[in-house]
Amino acid sequence: MASDIPLNWFLYFAAASFSIGLVGVLVRRNAIAVLMAIEIMLNAANVNLVAFWRYYGNPPPGAGPLPGVILALFVITVAAAEVAVGIGMILLCYRRWHAADVDRYDSMSG
């Protein structure tokens, strides 16, 4: 396979996706939309990990053949657990406040 994509391009794509996700976290008021934006950011980080794994060449001794892929796998695992718990907490808050907006959860504001 003619591998002539520069590493830069993957990094730019990941950086742009991460920035879009960050804007989404800051801009959206709905808690589930905030969760979606966090997923975008995690995916951007995954693209970075796999790109660096692929372009690094031979991995250092003691790291095994697939260090970046394994790390991305763990990121996926943590993201899945985070979404499950996050949706549970959002549902709990929705039952109590009858709203899924992050700025309505102000019981502890002074």
């Binding site: 396979m1 591998s3 002539d4 994509i5 520069p6 590493l7 830069n8 391009w9 990094l11 794509f13 950086a15 742009a16 996706s17 920035s19 879009i20 960050l22 804007v23 800051l26 801009v27 959206r28 709905n30 589930i32 969760l35 979606m36 997923e39 975008i40 995916n43 995954n46 693209v47 796999v50 790109a51 692929r54 372009y55 690094y56 060449g57 697939l66 892929v69 394994i70 991305a72 796998l73 763990f74 996926i76 695992t77 943590v78 993201a79 899945a80 657990a81 979404v83 499950a84 718990v85 949706i87 549970g88 907490m89 549902l91 709990l92 929705y94 039952r95 009858h98 709203a99 899924a100």
Partner: protein
């Protein structure tokens, strides 16, 4: 050719990410998010990590997006009422923050100092081949072998070198499963229906009562006036 493919996929990915962030309708946002996950899977294929692409489709599109859909439907914020509209006072600072982060990341990518023995990132445009003898005529067969063996290699690595991380990830998934059920469980509800067993994809066999989720969804949706 590969560059053109990458540009198309990256443009689609950025557009769908923007759609996820900007869509008023939350269901549309979730569908854009599914498209974004798929473009990321395509990026993984371009990076020759095919097993990870399959895993991305299975876990993200198959589990995470469905859980998000359930959350959207249970909170009944499908329509773009005023609660999902972007807060105007936060729009400009958030855009400034996002642009600043993007600028810093681009600056860092362009000016990264290479580690010893490596060329800097901005000049790294030839990938080392996964196959052992990429130049020969049987490189395709070797490449196919590498693709076929990737899942096996990942399994071997998880069971030998990264076994501690693997166990901790399993513990984390178990805790997340139990915690999600404990959070979503309603004490005053009918006792035969534990609320929702949302769980990550690889724990489906441990689901307590998947059939009991139906009436609970209906009851929680009907008993919460908006």
């Amino acid at each position: 050719m590969v560059q053109f493919l990458f540009l198309v996929i990256a443009a689609l990915g950025l557009l769908t990410a923007l759609g996820t962030v900007l869509a008023r309708n939350l269901v549309h946002a979730a569908l854009f998010l599914v498209a974004f996950f798929f473009t990321v899977a395509c990026q993984f294929v371009l990076l020759e990590a095919e097993f990870l692409a399959a895993l991305q489709v299975l876990v993200y599109i198959g589990a995470v997006a469905i859980i998000l859909m359930f959350g959207i439907m249970l909170t009944r914020n499908i329509q773009g009422d005023d609660t999902t509209i972007v807060a105007a006072a936060w729009k400009i600072p958030a855009l400034v923050a996002g642009l600043c982060v993007f600028g810093i990341l681009v600056f860092g990518i362009n000016n990264a100092v290479a580690p010893a023995g490596h060329s800097p990132w901005s000049e790294l445009n030839v990938r080392p081949s996964i196959a052992a003898d990429a130049g020969s005529s049987k490189a395709t067969a070797v490449r196919r072998e590498a693709v076929n063996n990737m899942a096996r290699t990942v399994g071997n690595e998880l069971m030998t070198r990264y076994v501690v991380g693997f166990e901790v990830a399993g513990l984390l998934l178990t805790v997340a499963l139990v915690g999600a059920i404990a959070l979503a469980h309603r004490e005053e509800a009918e006792p035969a229906a534990p609320s929702r067993g949302e769980q990550p994809a690889r724990l489906t066999s441990a689901s307590p009562q998947p059939q009991a989720a139906g009436p609970s969804l209906v009851s929680s949706g009907a008993s919460s006036p908006r």
